[in-house]
């Protein structure tokens, strides 16, 4: 029998310093950048650049043979807690992406934040973020993943709330953190379940023991040795599914899945480069990354939940993106929607496809955000000295392609990738997902076609809102001068400098297919090769049908159909967008004047299915009301009740006093009344009457005698 302690025995490697460097460099940046004042951007960029180099070096060394490093952290009772790093292709890829995007964002921010007084703080936060993100990526231990998971949450909180003097920013930061926390409850519950069953949270240990676990009489049983002692863990089999779903909850929070996705649009209050880094490329993808890490531990039921949540999220967010005015909001909803795709992919078992989409999305969405950032940044310059306006509002834009040509280029390339048109990276990865989804739906049948339908509808919607955005921003005429009544404005608008354009263009270039293989078939991409879908490890009776078990032919059969359908749908979306929002189209005109979309669908879309209102007005209010009620209860009922005991004391004291002395007078009065001498009544209401006292004494004596003797 396997001994748990053998599985998690320490493994050392000469490369440990390198791996640690990946963590230490960013945290070093966090610790020192704050003191750098004006040089902060360069300093932190240099650090991140060197970190990228380290990551690249490690990638070259360990690409083909994964490295495990493990050491003891602490011992709790008999349970050894370890830290472990696992550098496989996934981790290496992620660390490259994170560092790469981070570096570009650093560079971009150098210009974007140039005038901000607090920029050292900003770059320090970026360092903290990179550190936390690297932690998630590198560690192979669920506990550590969770720890960095939360730290990522904090850095996101700090960055969203970076402009904390804006109340909306600070509230958005709160919202992001709290909703993430709700997801984390699930995560921590998952940790509890796994720990209870396997006595360790090291992924190697969990996986090894998961293979050995069995379902017996509906109980999930696993038998192993721990330090020479035999352990039999057993719990209701349903906890297995629950564990998967619970862990997935963490991803729901972090990756902004339904029903916790409402924080992401609000998070756009943060500086735009942050949105690019955190809320598009990396952090929100961490949920998907985590799902990939625990992929093999999910059982059929959990996977179904994952798939459904993913599909619903993708669709809902796509709808919401249709009618937004704020360019960043559109991008935010689009991010949610794309994350939905990834999660859906994980749910249907399309591990490689999901991760592929994660990678491609990281680039094209970062590109989109950075381009949007350039627009916002440049428009923001116009604000100086002039009237205030919202530089993120698409209603003030229009026709910018002439003023900002490079940005336009980057934006469109990335948009095409987002819309999933052939030749762009998005096409490859989305196609792979749709294909696997189709196969999955075929296997499952019945209601499981719904996710498929939703996913395909989302394709249309994606294309639509993407091009709607392009039309509104870059085509037509520049609307701002009209709104502000200042005709000189167009001349003032300039293209961003190299600090900002270069990163955007780099991302745009990475949104083409070629970095991932010169092919239109995802299967031929090196990414799909590298990140092979693993087998499920859960007990057989609980395991889902793995796509690996599906014969190749099924895929081939569907491949073409899916390809064509998705391209057609995307084109359809493009076409509708062109119809509605081409310069001079009816919708385009009304769009500018509206304060908010009209019609039921418009409203639902604009308000994102009213989910936010539901939370704010019903759940949150209910909780706050309840907490106030409880506080009231605590202060006025519970406290009073306990004080009442004290008061009761006083009352008893009164009663006893009454008994001891007034009672006497009572008797006296009674006597007086009984002989009709009412006049004595008042006089005898006095204490200290000795005869009455004697009398009462004798009453007591007599009573006692009667009680005890007779």
């Amino acid at each position: 029998m396997i001994d748990l302690l053998d599985i998690i025995s320490p493994q050392s490697s000469a490369y440990l310093p390198w791996i640690l460097a990946l963590l230490i460099l960013p945290i070093f940046s966090f610790a020192t950048t704050g003191f750098m004042k004006g040089k902060a951007p360069y300093w932190s960029s240099a650090i991140i650049a060197s970190n990228l180099l380290v990551a690249a070096y490690l990638a070259t060394v360990f690409w083909n043979e994964p490295l495990t490093i493990r050491g003891n952290w602490f011992k709790l009772g008999e349970n050894q807690f370890t830290y472990s790093f696992y550098l496989d292709k996934l981790a290496l890829t992620m660390s490259l992406i994170v560092n790469f995007v981070a570096l570009l964002v650093h560079i971009f921010s150098t210009e974007y934040m140039r005038t901000d007084a607090n920029k050292p703080r900003y770059f320090a936060y970026l360092g903290l973020f990179t550190f936390s993100m690297m932690g998630i990526v590198l560690f192979n231990d669920l506990l550590f993943i969770f720890i960095f998971w939360e730290l990522v949450g904090v850095s996101s909180y700090l960055l969203i709330g970076f402009w904390f003097q804006k109340k909306s920013a600070s509230l958005a930061a709160n919202k992001a953190f709290i909703l993430n926390r709700i997801g984390d409850l699930g995560f921590i519950t998952g940790l509890m379940i796994l720990f209870t069953q396997f006595h360790s949270l090291d992924l190697d240990a969990v996986k090894s023991l998961m293979i050995m676990s069995e379902i017996e009489d509906g109980n999930w049983v696993v038998n192993f040795m721990q330090g020479g002692k035999e352990v039999i863990s057993s719990m209701d089999g349903r906890w297995l599914s629950a564990g998967g779903i619970a862990l997935f909850c963490g991803a729901v929070g972090k990756s902004a899945q339904f029903p916790l996705q409402v924080w992401l649009p609000d998070a756009m209050e943060g500086p735009t480069p942050v949105s690019a880094l955190i809320h598009a490329a990396t952090m929100v993808a961490a949920g998907v990354y985590m799902l990939a890490r625990i992929f093999v531990l999910l059982d059929a039921q959990a996977l179904e939940v994952v798939a459904i949540v993913g599909a619903v999220t993708a669709f809902m967010a796509a709808i919401a993106a249709l009618s937004q005015f704020d360019i960043k909001k559109v991008l935010a909803y689009s991010t949610i929607s794309q994350l939905g795709y990834m999660v859906l992919a994980m749910g249907v078992g399309a591990y490689s496809a999901g991760l592929f989409h994660l990678i491609t999305h990281a680039f094209f969405k970062a590109g989109l955000f950075l381009s949007a950032g350039i627009i916002i940044h440049q428009l923001h310059h116009l604000e100086k000295g002039g009237k205030k306006f919202d530089p993120q509002d698409m209603r003030v834009m229009g026709g910018l392609r002439r003023k900002l040509p490079v940005t336009f280029f980057a934006f469109v390339i990335c948009s095409l990738a987002l819309a999933g048109l052939p030749g762009f990276s998005g096409f490859l990865s989305k196609d792979a997902i749709l294909l696997d989804l189709a196969v999955w739906a075929d296997i499952k049948g019945g209601g499981f076609y719904i996710p498929e339908v939703l996913a395909f509808m989302t394709v249309v919607l994606t294309a639509f809102y993407t091009f709607r955005m392009i039309y509104l921003v870059f085509f037509g005429e520049f609307r701002l001068p009209k709104i502000l009544g200042d005709a000189s404005l167009p001349n003032k608008l300039k293209e961003g400098n190299l600090w900002v354009t270069v990163p955007a263009v780099i991302f745009a270039l990475l949104s083409f297919t070629f970095p991932f293989g010169f092919t239109l078939n995802a299967d031929h991409s090196w990414v799909m090769e590298a990140l092979k879908t693993p087998m499920y490890l859960v007990p057989e009776s609980y395991a889902a049908t793995s796509l690996l078990d599906v014969p190749e032919e099924t895929f081939h059969g569907l491949h073409k159909t899916v390809n064509i359908v998705s391209i057609l749908l995307a084109l359809a979306g493009l076409f509708i967008a062109w119809l509605s929002y081409k310069p001079g189209a009816k919708l385009e005109k009304t769009f500018i004047e509206r304060r908010e979309p009209v019609g039921v669908l418009g409203q639902i879309s604009f308000y994102h299915w009213y989910q936010n209102s539901l939370y704010q007005n019903i759940f949150l209010k209910a909780i706050l009301a309840k907490s106030r009620a409880l506080a009231w209860f605590d202060q006025y009922v519970l406290d009073e009740a306990v004080n009442l005991l004290a008061k009761l004391n006083v009352v008893i004291a009164h009663v006893t006093r009454w008994f001891d002395q007034v009672f006497v007078d009572g008797l006296v009065n009674l006597t007086a009344a009984s002989v009709g001498k009412v006049g004595q009544l008042t006089r005898s209401i006095q204490s200290g009457n000795i005869q009455a006292q004697i009398l009462v004494t004798f009453i007591f004596l007599l009573t006692l005698i009667l009680l005890l003797v007779v």
Binding site: I147, F164, I182, T189, I193, Q197, A631, V642
Partner: protein, 564 residues
């Protein structure tokens, strides 16, 4: 060093005496005396902790492997047919209390520094404070119930006066409330204590009394002789020794609290009732719902250093008491009532957090968050797993540090404006950036962010509580799951408070506060920085504490499971 623990306990007392003896003319020396005596104590405690051997497995129900033990007969009486009664001066540390001693040393020292600004009646203040130090430290190292109770009760008076004289506007009410509540609790403990020592004998002293040589007989021989009645009843020496009380073989056959005796009262076994009594007694101190209502008042009215000591260390006496007495002595009852305790723990977590959400006073908010956090202690204990109990101890330790910091922070703003209403401030981050950083750290630490000690503690409690169902079956798994809600609520109230007070545009209610709002002073850094370092250190490297307590907790769990 011999008598190390005695030095630790009594150095503050000596300090108090010195303060009393120093004439008023040298008033400025009082605080120096206070700081130096608590500092010396802390040094000795650190020495004790470093020389503590965490690998030794203590015998919870006996004196085996107890470290730094000091035992001297205090007095022993023959009380006629009551048999003989022996009270010892008995100190010692094992895995269950070493961490608390360390915490006490740290918090009391920081508290002493926080006393710096006390202006009136210094002599009384500092002597009372040092007296409090002695009683708190004594509580943690005393292993004789009588001695423990002495220290336990004696904590009340200094606290009563410290709150009542140097407190806020409603100090009298708060002081009396604190006093009466805790006293009511301690009466319950007293009842059980009487029952216990009437039921428990000291096998070694009994052997002495009966003229048997310990060289020839093992303790178990003596125990079986008592069981079989070979030793006369009047020769049985009753004991206050808390460790003997934990060994069910040391109960006089047929006595009230003897396991096999199982006398009943109101239809319940007396052991269970005794357990409940002692549970309530310490739950008041802890405090757990519904006995917590003294806490907000006491905290709000207490001066800052006292809030620090109260939250940082006094509440822990409750938790420690539960471990050392209720659980160690009545494992069977503890198991029987595990559900109840777990439920109270869970309920306290959520209830405290919900209440905190509605508070307008910063100190009250922190007070309710203490209720919530101490709920974890109960939950962890109820689990009766090594993770749970370790978590409970860890939570006490970490909460001691974190809540100290929180109250110091509340004190900082109160010192400047004499106002603690959350709604009276906004955007303080502009005016007090460094302070804001510390507040942020404290808030995040308290809401259980990884990297800070609170997270480790809460994680352990969750793991232990969840595991309980499948290992020992003390509490159902859903309790752990529901309790996680506390984390979200904690995030809610801390972040909203943070947002209201520190973020947004700078705004304070009264104009005149603005000049007073200066950033942290060196003196405040001196208190806050060490706390931050400790909180992070214990959050990143739990072995610092776990190595001390592990074997103790293991042994404790073995003791519990063996007697269920």
């Amino acid at each position: 060093m011999e008598h190390l623990l005695s030095y630790i306990v009594f150095i503050p007392l000596v300090g108090a005496a010195l303060v009393l003896l120093t004439p008023k003319a040298y008033e400025h020396l009082y605080r120096v005396l206070a700081i130096s005596s608590t500092g010396l104590t802390l040094l000795l405690i650190l020495f004790a902790v470093t020389s503590f051997n965490g690998a030794l497995v203590p015998e919870i129900s006996g004196e085996g492997n107890l470290q730094m033990m000091e035992k001297a007969s205090w007095f022993s009486l023959k009380l006629g047919s009551l048999g003989a009664l022996s009270v010892d001066y008995f100190l010692g540390v094992d895995g269950l209390n070493i961490s608390m001693v360390l915490l006490a040393g740290i918090v009391l020292f920081i508290g002493a520094i926080a006393c710096w600004n006390i202006k009136e009646k210094k002599k009384a203040y500092f002597s009372l404070y040092l007296l409090l130090c002695t009683s708190v430290l004594g509580c943690f190292v005393a292993l004789d119930f009588f001695l423990f109770y002495l220290f336990f009760e004696f904590m009340l008076l200094p606290m009563y006066f410290l709150i009542g004289i140097w407190g806020g506007p409603r100090r009298e009410y708060a002081a009396i409330k604190f006093f009466l509540y805790t006293l009511a609790g301690s009466i319950l403990i007293l009842i059980v204590m009487i029952g216990l020592y009437n039921s428990v004998y000291d096998p070694i002293k009994t052997a002495e009394m009966a003229g048997l040589s310990m060289a020839e007989y093992a303790i178990s021989d003596i125990q079986s002789m008592v069981l079989e009645g070979q030793i006369d009843k009047t020769e049985v020496v009753k004991s206050f020794n808390m460790l003997h009380m934990a060994d069910s073989a040391n109960y006089i056959p047929g006595s009230l609290l003897d396991k096999s005796g199982l006398g009943t009262l109101f239809g319940q076994p007396i052991r269970w009732i005794a357990f409940l009594a002692i549970l309530i007694g310490f739950a008041i101190k802890l405090p757990a719902f519904p006995f917590h209502t003294w806490l907000p008042d006491a905290h709000v009215e207490a001066p800052t250093p006292l809030s620090v000591v109260l939250a940082g260390i006094l509440l822990k006496v409750g938790g420690y008491g539960l471990i050392r007495t209720a659980y160690a002595m009545f494992p069977d009852a503890a198991f029987h009532y595990a559900w109840l305790i777990g439920f109270i723990g869970m309920f306290s977590i959520i209830y405290g957090a919900m209440n905190a959400l509605a508070q307008k006073d910063l100190k009250k908010l922190i007070a309710f968050s203490s209720v919530s956090h101490m709920g974890f202690v109960l939950l962890g204990l109820a689990a009766m797993t090594s993770e749970g109990v370790s978590g409970a101890i860890y939570q006490m330790f970490s909460h001691g540090l974190i809540s100290s910091m929180l109250f110091l922070i509340a004190g900082v703003i109160y010192d400047r404006t004499h106002d603690r209403m959350i709604e009276n401030y906004g955007g303080l981050a502009h005016q007090l950036p460094k302070y804001t950083v510390f507040v942020g750290i404290a808030f995040f630490a308290s809401l259980g962010l990884p990297g800070f000690s609170g997270f480790i503690a809460e994680l352990f409690v969750f793991l232990g509580a969840f595991k309980s169902a499948s290992v020992i079956g003390a509490i159902p798994a859903w309790m752990a799951v529901v309790s996680t809600l506390g984390l979200v609520l904690a995030a809610g109230y801390y972040l909203w408070t943070f947002q209201k007070m520190f973020l947004g545009k700078f705004w304070v209610k009264e104009k005149k506060w603005v000049p007073a709002l200066k950033d942290l002073t060196i003196h405040e850094y001196l208190m806050l920085v060490p706390l931050v370092i400790l909180i992070i250190a214990f959050g990143v490297y739990p072995s610092l504490l776990l190595d001390l307590i592990n074997s103790g907790v293991e042994s404790f769990i073995d003791h519990l499971t063996a007697s269920i």
